[in-house]
């Protein structure tokens, strides 16, 4: 019984193969159409994946609001209201905002870091100081020119937050920050610029003197970091003679009088925004609750704006969704048109084969067999077309990547590195393959039903 069933299906397979061969031109065109449709759809899906996952992940590294719980004074968020889809020229100000704004202090930062469970790192919205390097180790700088020194004022946790690794030394400590010490961490290329004949380890302990206007400071190097994130690399690739460094936030030795007497208490320093990175993403809701509880207790309910990074990411992705929908619909149109071709041609084919179908039924073929034969042919063409479409997609993605890089105007490594994320992923390929086969099957169902529901007697009468 099993053997005769196998023989029957083999026969059906051979019959389908012969019939597909007879109409080779039509079938080739169906396959080409599906290949083009799947190729464009898969390319569109890969582009969407690149924008929503790849680029977003890359940007998230540079936007602390997307990775950590942020605390800032209650304020009006103008960006979405002034420049969004439904932009307004003016927004009314509520009474709550008119009160004296509460700005988180360094003391708040330290307290939350110590007391609220789930806090891994505490950082601030970094400030910046621009100055000129006037001396190293007390002597004029070797080499031509005086490089600009761009100092970011950060907390010791900033280095771990950004994933910065040290090629020598280490970060300054919270004690350094609270004591207002003039300590400095240099970025590697800056260390090479200022100390061209020294290894990073040999730079530790050296001093760098900078000046801006009438103020200046002598900093002691405590660490040298490896090249940083995307934004840092973009900044340093502008061809400007610049050294990047990190100094403790809230310690402003260029403001302190000689001898240190009378300097402001660093703990009372306020920040526009402070960030608390969670130990893991699952703890974020509890962390938000803990931070809110601290500030509500100290300053009153609703005194500060505490934001959940997951909600911030979701808000950013929501902006992208209409564009994603547009790309996918446009990319899917080609596949839809190709699939309608299957419906068109297979319906005509079934009508042409009425006598053959009638004969088959008269000789014992079941309706199910007729149905699966036609549906199977459609699925087969869909499979072949989809596989070919994945090859088309690979080529289209390479072309599109080259066009996108060329549109950026330069061939810098950073641009190439970003667009290297735009490739055919396994998920994208699987989606294209599945879409091609599913659409072919769906549009092959009607002709299959049409063929299988014929009356054999009527079918045999057809000329």
């Amino acid at each position: 019984m099993a053997r005769s069933r196998l023989v029957m299906w083999l026969g059906v397979f051979r019959l389908s193969a012969r019939q597909l061969q007879q109409r080779w031109l039509e079938n080739t065109l169906i396959v080409v159409g599906i290949a083009l449709g799947v190729g464009v759809l898969t390319t569109g899906q890969a582009l969407v994946s690149f924008q929503t996952a790849g680029l977003v992940a890359l940007v998230a590294q540079e936007i602390p609001d997307w990775r950590a719980v942020s605390v800032r004074p209650v304020r009006i968020d103008v960006s979405s209201q002034f420049f969004g889809q439904e932009s307004l020229p003016a927004v009314p100000v509520s009474e709550q905002v008119l009160g004296e704004p509460v700005q988180p202090t360094l003391e708040d930062l330290l307290a939350v870091r110590e007391e609220v469970p789930g806090v891994a790192l505490a950082t601030v919205e970094y400030g910046a100081r621009s100055a000129t390097v006037v001396a190293v180790e007390g002597a004029p700088l070797p080499g031509p020119g005086q490089p600009a020194l761009h100092l970011q004022t950060v907390t010791p946790d900033e280095f771990a937050f950004r994933g910065l690794r040290f090629s020598a030394g280490g970060p300054f400590t919270w004690d350094d920050l609270l004591a207002g010490r003039a300590v400095l961490v240099l970025e590697e290329s800056g260390a090479r610029r200022l100390f061209p004949h020294l290894t990073p380890e040999e730079v530790i302990g050296r001093t760098v003197t900078e000046a801006s206007g009438t103020t200046g400071t002598r900093w002691q190097v405590v660490g040298v970091t490896e090249p940083g994130g995307l934004l840092t690399r973009v900044m340093l690739s502008q061809g400007v003679d610049m050294v990047l460094g990190y100094v403790p936030a809230a310690s402003q030795p260029w403001l302190a009088p000689e001898g240190g007497g009378g300097a402001p208490d660093p703990r009372s320093t306020t920040f526009n925004t402070v960030y608390f990175a969670p130990e893991n993403e699952a703890l974020i809701p509890q962390l938000v609750a803990g931070v809110e509880a601290y500030f509500n207790q100290k300053y009153g309910p609703g005194s500060v704006d505490v934001r959940n990074p997951q909600a911030q990411r979701e808000e950013a992705l929501a902006w992208l969704r209409p564009a994603v929908l547009g790309i996918l619909v446009l990319a899917g149109l080609g596949l839809l048109i190709a699939a309608i071709n299957i419906l068109n041609l297979f319906t005509a084919r079934v009508l042409r084969r009425q006598r053959i179908i009638g004969t088959s039924m008269a000789l014992g073929a079941t309706r199910a067999l007729i149905f699966f034969q036609t549906a199977g042919e459609a699925l087969f063409l869909g499979l072949v077309g989809s596989l070919l479409g994945l090859a088309v997609a690979t080529g289209l993605i390479d072309i599109l990547r080259a066009v996108l890089i060329q549109q950026q105007g330069d061939g810098s490594e950073i641009v190439a590195e970003i667009y290297a994320l735009f490739r055919l992923g396994f998920d994208d390929g699987l989606l294209g393959l599945a879409a091609g086969m599913l659409v072919s099957l769906i549009f092959g169902i009607y002709p299959a039903l049409l063929g299988s529901r014929q009356d054999p007697v009527e079918a045999l009468r057809v000329e």
Partner: protein, 432 residues
């Protein structure tokens, strides 16, 4: 023609599907074309070029600018420079605060401007008038202009001439946005502000979301460049518009004239970061260049539309193949009675072009909902070009043309295959 309709009705399912396929493809192509055609048409129109004039040092993307120019410099340039059609001194404040009838508002921005401003930006007045020389010569601004959009939001009407707004200090906007580190917020919020009477209501130039787009900064309120508004530091910028045909000569002439004029000013002799500052004249980002840059984004969408069109061409090919296969006996008979191969090809191509053309017409109608509801997220932007009736006609005609071209090209090969058969071969059913 009647034979065409008879054949169309006989194979209505197949032909309707083919029309639908072409309609989908043409809808995609014309939805994208509707963005491209207005920009290409606007490109041909004469547009005056604007230039920003700054003073400072620049190296790569890093620049340090010094405020040195005054409204008088702009007025002097208007008189003296042959290549300058219009010149203005202006300053913008992003996110400024105002108070009206006890309610505070955070406004998208305001500008302090001089007499040459309307000519440079193409300002159009919906009501009232621009500043008079007396308004510009005062100490503090006492009058102002507001945008129609702002008038509607704040007053609920655009009939606001004679009304008063209280312009708050710049620090207040920063405090309200939460950037008030080191600012005495209580004192700032309690300050009296500046009462300004509205003497005019303006609209931004056509096609832009607000005055100042794309490069000046948003301006919903305009204040006159009085001495106190300009301030002791002259913190503002110069912008000039070139006479038509003199865009190449303008930078050099402006640099030469202004260099001589500012030579004695203290800021002109003070080095910045070890280098002597100089006058830098740059072509401003024009709306047209922004729109053309946006077109690059439409390239991807256009490519997808073209891919869909190619697939619809394959659909027309197979449809024509199937239609001709059904008529080989008729074709054989026609050939036996003297019809030439060319006539057979022409009939088949014309029929396919007509079917595709009908599909294209349907696609034009589909393009609007596709653009409105599906592609809106991709198409909308701050630099959208206004679509005129002539653009709609051009896009519609182009859509139908593309559809008919695809149908005609797709039918050539099947038509030629059938036309090559001898009458005897064609007479035998299923020869094709």
């Amino acid at each position: 023609m009647s034979a065409f309709w008879i054949r169309l009705r006989r194979n209505w399912f197949r032909n309707v599907l083919a029309m639908g396929q072409v309609a989908l493809a043409i809808a995609a192509v014309t939805a994208v074309l509707a963005d491209v055609v207005p920009v290409l048409r606007a490109r041909s129109a004469d547009e005056q070029s604007a230039f920003t004039v700054r003073f400072g040092v620049r190296e790569g993307f890093a620049a340090s600018w010094v405020s040195i120019f005054t409204p008088e410099d702009a007025a002097w340039l208007r008189e003296e420079a042959r290549s300058v059609a219009a010149a203005t001194w202006y300053r913008t404040e992003f996110a400024s605060a105002i108070q009206v009838d006890g309610q505070r508002y955070l406004v998208r921005g305001h500008g302090v401007v001089d007499a040459g401003f309307p000519d440079v930006v193409g300002l159009t007045l919906a009501a009232g008038s621009f500043f008079t020389p007396a308004d510009l010569q005062g100490d503090v601004p006492r009058v102002g202009l507001v945008s129609q959009q702002l008038a509607r939001v704040v007053f609920g009407t655009t009939d606001v001439i004679g009304r008063t707004i209280n312009v708050r200090p710049a620090e207040e906007a920063r405090v309200l946005q939460g950037f008030g580190t080191g600012v005495d917020a209580v004192a700032v919020l309690a300050s009296p502000g500046l009462d300004v009477e509205i003497i005019g209501v303006f609209n931004p130039p056509p096609g832009v979301p607000y005055l100042g787009f794309p490069s000046m900064g948003p301006m919903e309120i305009l204040l006159p460049a009085t001495s106190e508004a300009v301030g002791p530091q002259n913190e503002g910028e110069l912008m000039v518009v070139a006479e038509l045909g003199m865009e190449q000569a303008l930078p050099e002439e402006v640099r030469t004239l202004l260099a001589a004029r500012i030579a004695g000013r203290p800021e002109a002799t003070r080095p910045i970061e070890g280098r002597m500052p100089e006058i830098v004249v740059d072509r401003d980002v024009s709306l047209q260049s922004l729109r053309e840059a946006r077109l690059q984004g439409s390239l991807l969408l256009g490519a997808m539309g073209v891919a869909a069109l190619a697939v619809s061409g394959i659909a027309m090919f197979t449809t024509t193949l199937a239609n001709l296969a059904q008529r080989t006996r008729y074709i054989g008979l026609s050939r036996a009675l003297g019809a030439t191969r060319l006539r057979v090809v022409w009939e088949a191509v014309a029929e396919s072009a007509l079917i595709a053309g009908l599909g294209g017409a349907g696609g034009i109608l589909l393009a609007y909902p596709l653009r409105r509801w599906v592609l809106a997220g991709l198409m909308q932007g701050l630099a959208s070009t206004p679509v005129k009736a002539v653009d709609v006609v051009i896009v519609a005609v182009a859509g139908v043309f593309f559809a008919m071209a695809v149908g005609a090209v797709a039918a050539v090969y099947p038509a030629w295959m059938v036309a090559r058969l001898t009458p005897a071969e064609a007479w035998r059913e299923g020869r094709l």
